[in-house]
């Protein structure tokens, strides 16, 4: 089966001489949910800009399904739906017109474009705002409007550049559910985000880009396996004993009812619970101190710096 996206030795040098991409290569399989991560200025948006023709590449090859962008860019564009980082619609236009017009730009007859506009405005929960000037929409609604617009031609590859930036938690969760659903229905999704818990919750594979180079390209599971140490926070039912300790583990007492425990790779967390049990400490809840992927991300990016 053809990959959804193949990038080979892609480079981009801007007119001012800045080399944003230094020959990156990556492949995204059909049906994948792929996270493209990296710090600000790493080259994520440049890569996405090249895929949707807003940035001209300097060298390299890009193929979207069976369409090479140097041979048939219009065919490649038909496969792609793009949700950019910045709002890029006319704020004086109404959501319904914005989406129906976008359908027209993809060659759809007006009746079909309007049908799709209704379908996706409803799916994203902003149908009741269809005739409201888009400048009057909230930030979250504007984000959903851009997702609906990107889907109007029902692309096989959806690219989202920080789609949940500035969106409240409830709306972010509902967007996650929507993205999971369309991914399950067969749409390949590439996502950039600074919320690493978002990548961990949604994506199966991850590419980490830094200073214009891919520093990691693997599955999320494999990436997390590389973690050497995890820190857990334990909330206790009663106050901890004064002489409390767990042999073989580094612990930190946060307050009378809260404890941090470091678990090194190879250590079993059961030992922690066994020790706690022996000392009569009852645990009410347990959680990771920090996002695991974030820890790995910082390590990789700092390592490449």
């Amino acid at each position: 089966m053809l990959p959804a996206l193949t990038i080979e030795n892609l480079t981009k040098t801007y007119d001012n001489g800045f080399q944003a991409l230094k020959g990156i290569s990556l492949t995204v399989a059909q049906g994948d949910f792929y996270a493209l991560l990296g710090p600000n200025g790493a080259g994520k948006s440049t890569t996405i800009g090249i895929l949707c023709s807003l940035v001209n590449k300097s060298a390299g090859r890009v193929q979207v399904f069976d369409a090479d962008i140097d041979v048939d860019f219009p065919a490649a564009k038909k496969y792609i739906g793009i949700v950019p980082q910045e709002f890029n619609f006319n704020i004086f236009e109404k959501p319904f017109d914005i989406i129906a017009n976008q359908g027209g730009y993809y060659g759809m007859p007006r009746a079909l474009a309007e049908e799709r506009a209704e379908k996706y405005l409803k799916a994203l929960g902003i149908w009741d705002k269809r005739d409201t000037p888009s400048r009057a929409l909230s930030g979250g609604m504007k984000r959903r409007l851009m997702i609906a617009r990107a889907l109007v031609h029902e692309p096989k590859l959806l690219i989202l550049d920080e789609p949940t930036a500035g969106v409240d938690i409830e709306m972010r969760r509902s967007m996650w559910e929507f993205l999971k659903r369309i991914n399950a229905e067969g749409t390949t999704i590439i996502l950039t985000t600074h919320y690493l818990e978002e990548a961990e919750a949604l994506c199966r594979h991850v590419g980490i880009i830094n200073h214009g180079e891919i520093v990691e390209n693997t599955s999320i599971r494999e990436l997390l396996r590389q973690l050497q140490r995890e820190v857990f926070i334990l909330d206790c039912v009663d106050a901890l004993p004064a002489d409390f300790a767990i042999e073989g583990f580094v612990t930190r007492r946060m307050d009378d009812h809260c404890l941090e425990v470091e678990v090194e790779k190879g250590q079993a967390i059961n030992q922690v619970f066994a020790s706690l049990d022996r000392q009569g400490v009852q645990i009410a809840s347990m959680r990771n101190r920090a996002n695991r992927l974030e820890e790995m991300f910082v390590k990789l990016v700092e390592g490449a710096a």
Binding site: F73, F87, E93, Y105, G107
Partner: protein, 257 residues
């Protein structure tokens, strides 16, 4: 894209453009009607009655074709430059750039928007002029051809201005400092015969002279310049402007990074 898809994309751009200027008709259609009415009253009725005949016609009849053409030039130019620059400014032009719509369809869509606004304003101004004078059409085909060519040329010019503009100030520089002076000095209000030889020769470097005179020929049957030369120059300018616009779109200059 197949031809049906291209047609759908073209009609989408045209529909959007027409709806845009119709929605703000008080800013796009009405001002020309008011401005031209004032020209007709002041230059046609008040001052014109004291000037007498020009080129064998009353002064009012003489200036009407030039004023109609002035409205077409400014409106077709203004429509494309403001609409396309606006799309660049709010980044909504990216909706088109990321789509498979071919560049020539994008250009034709915007130009058609400019041409239709130019035609609409021309009809409004012509209707207003009928309150002041009687008009007869000498050659309808010349009128149609010159109106279409002129509105196309200035729509293309507006597109070029929009691509290069960095601010809303930049889209008013050309109309204010280039188009308006060239139009006023293009024989709208006087015949070339009135100018000294030197200034008459200089005036012939002004492309608006050919636009105004060719249209005047279509309406009144009189002109200061050869029709063949006027049409030839207009077609040449339009062709050059079209290919330059396509060059800008194909290279993505100031549109893509």
């Amino acid at each position: 894209m197949n031809s049906t898809e291209k047609y759908n994309a073209y009609m989408t751009i045209v529909r959007k453009e027409v709806r845009r200027y119709m929605r703000i008709w008080t800013q796009t259609l009405l001002p020309s009607a008011i401005t031209m009415s004032l020209y007709f009253i002041i230059f046609g009725s008040l001052i014109g009655s004291r000037i007498g005949e020009m080129g064998g016609f009353t002064y009012m009849q003489f200036v009407v074709p030039g004023l109609i053409m002035m409205a077409i030039v400014t409106n077709s130019y203004a429509n494309v430059v403001s609409s396309f620059y606006g799309a660049k400014f709010n980044h909504s032009v990216e909706e088109l750039l990321v789509s498979p719509t071919p560049n020539y369809i994008v250009l034709l869509g915007y130009v058609t928007g400019g041409v239709t606004r130019g035609l609409l304003v021309a009809i409004v101004v012509t209707l207003v002029s009928l309150f002041f004078t009687h008009l007869h059409i000498h050659n309808i085909w010349v009128v149609i051809a010159i109106v279409l060519l002129t509105s196309t040329l200035f729509s293309l010019a507006g597109f070029i201005n929009a691509v290069y503009a960095n601010s809303f100030d930049d889209i008013s520089i050309v109309p204010t400092f280039v188009l308006t002076p060239l139009t006023y000095l293009g024989g709208v209000f006087y015949s070339m015969d009135l100018l000294p030889d030197f200034w008459a020769a200089v005036s012939r470097l002004n492309p608006l002279v050919y636009v105004v005179n060719a249209f005047r020929y279509g309406v009144l049957g009189v002109s200061d310049v050869s029709q063949g030369f006027a049409f030839g120059m207009l077609a040449l300018f339009t062709g050059v402007a079209f290919f330059y616009c396509m060059h800008l779109l194909n290279t993505g200059k100031r549109l893509r990074q």
